[in-house]
Subunit: 282 residues, 2 copies
């Protein structure tokens, strides 16, 4: 496996690869890798010839007072993990190389980022879509892979790629979970043992909502009341939001008539966790 | 010469060309071509193997009440003109293909677009940078050419390409002028004969400012007063702005210490004209 630090070097390598007919697959990450990331890489490994990943904790998607400085980092461990998966190139730029003096451009996807996480993390998605646009232009992949745990992010990136005519297929893969159902996340490492025990209640509550849907319930308020009640009872988490949205537009809905998503954000102690579950007619 | 209407077809063609080692040059236009456009194309013709131009009157860079509907169009004449220049592919998408239902993404370059034209054309540059990002992704050029007449636009696009790591060299070429000095512009066709006679006074006033600079004047107010006074006297135009800015940041300056630009926007009747001149130490 090769480690490339300079954006220009990464870009030239990818241009050469594309010109040789090589299919480039790409998994962008912020490091501190877990099985969720590795499962994306395994799928990306199968779908192309050269697998590029990036490890870059992107400062512009963290708000003031958020955990940019504390975000867990362990490059040595990450590099060992991805070697086993068969990563060809690991791109690890510095923040100075990604955002040199005078940097002043942003990419924004508007409607699908207005709901859910935007309220408590203003500007977060602008940071995400901007850095992903940069990474896409540097790595020039044919296919890029993202986890469905960050569902709103996935939809925003798919929308950006389509709207800006990026020649990239953006693929979302199923959330990987711990045995007890907790969605894998680098931020799980923040959880105290007590909160770690309570955290799987988030997913159990989403499953409860999906069961109501499966039994024919279509009223969003009814489903959300059940989910919210169970989260409050089982986890005592401070709920940021529990919402039922159209799966494509991420707008709130009153009645489920097509593909939908129940999305939750909640704090256990100081740790903000997000999760979601898709509601789809069988 | 080939005419391509579908973005996806244009993109696939360019991808194939790149993979064969072909150098793609690109001149995006809104049509109603004049010698300014043609000079960009002639230079682009020399600098690469396949010359692509686009003709697309982009609705999102016109504000409410601006001249989108009236903007001059003459595709037949344009196609005859570019054939002579040796254009290989003319890309002419429809507005529906560029902005399908659900479109919601924008690219913004912030600081360099805050001054000059932004005040009277809010959102104009966001429309420009967004459509150019799309066109760049569709046409995949190695080199792209823009006229210096739209100086602020040129700087914004260069900044965008650099900030977003687009693998494209954005080249600005000298403004082409009529024999009497008027900068060529598709909007010159709006001018009444009387206003057409007055219009070259804009450029003569800029030249006057540059002469002051050449004779050692470095105070912006002194230079601008002379330029403004001459515009008022010679053209009777309604001045939108006359400003002296840093050539790279497009911020107003009090004293000329490095490369700078005198930029003017003014209305003759209902026709808004812009022009500029660069001040550079010999």
């Amino acid at each position: 496996m090769e480690i490339i630090v300079q954006p220009r070097e990464m870009q030239q390598r990818s241009e050469q690869n594309r010109c040789q007919g090589i299919v480039i697959t790409f998994v962008p990450t912020m490091g501190y890798l877990h099985e969720g990331h590795l499962s994306l890489m395994r799928e990306a490994r199968k779908r192309g010839d050269v697998l590029v990943i990036s490890i870059f904790v992107n400062p512009t998607q963290f708000g003031p007072g958020e955990d940019y400085a504390q975000y867990p980092r362990d490059m040595e461990r990450d590099l060992a993990l991805v070697q086993d998966v068969g990563v060809d190139i690991c791109f690890t730029p510095s923040a100075n190389e990604m955002y040199p003096d005078g940097f002043q451009t942003s990419v924004e996807v508007h409607h699908v980022t207005e709901n859910l996480c935007e309220a408590s993390r203003p500007g977060h998605f602008r940071g995400v879509t901007t850095v992903v646009a940069k990474l896409f232009n540097i790595v020039k992949p044919h296919l890029a892979f993202f986890g469905q745990k960050d569902y709103q992010q996935l939809i925003a990136i798919q929308r950006m790629a389509e709207d800006l005519n990026m020649d990239i297929e953006v693929i979302g893969l199923t959330t990987v979970r711990e045995a007890d159902g907790l969605a894998m996340s680098s931020r799980n490492s923040y959880l105290s043992p007590a909160h770690r025990t309570l955290a799987p209640g988030l997913y159990r509550s989403l499953v409860k909502g999906k069961e109501l849907f499966a039994r024919g319930e279509r009223n969003a308020a009814t489903i959300l009341n059940a989910v919210r009640g169970m989260i409050e009872k089982e986890t005592a988490a401070a709920i940021d939001y529990v919402k039922l949205c159209d799966a494509r537009t991420i707008q709130d809905i009153d009645t489920v008539t097509g593909d939908a998503v129940i999305a939750v954000a909640a704090r256990l102690g100081t740790t903000r966790l997000i999760d979601n579950i898709i509601l789809r007619e069988e």
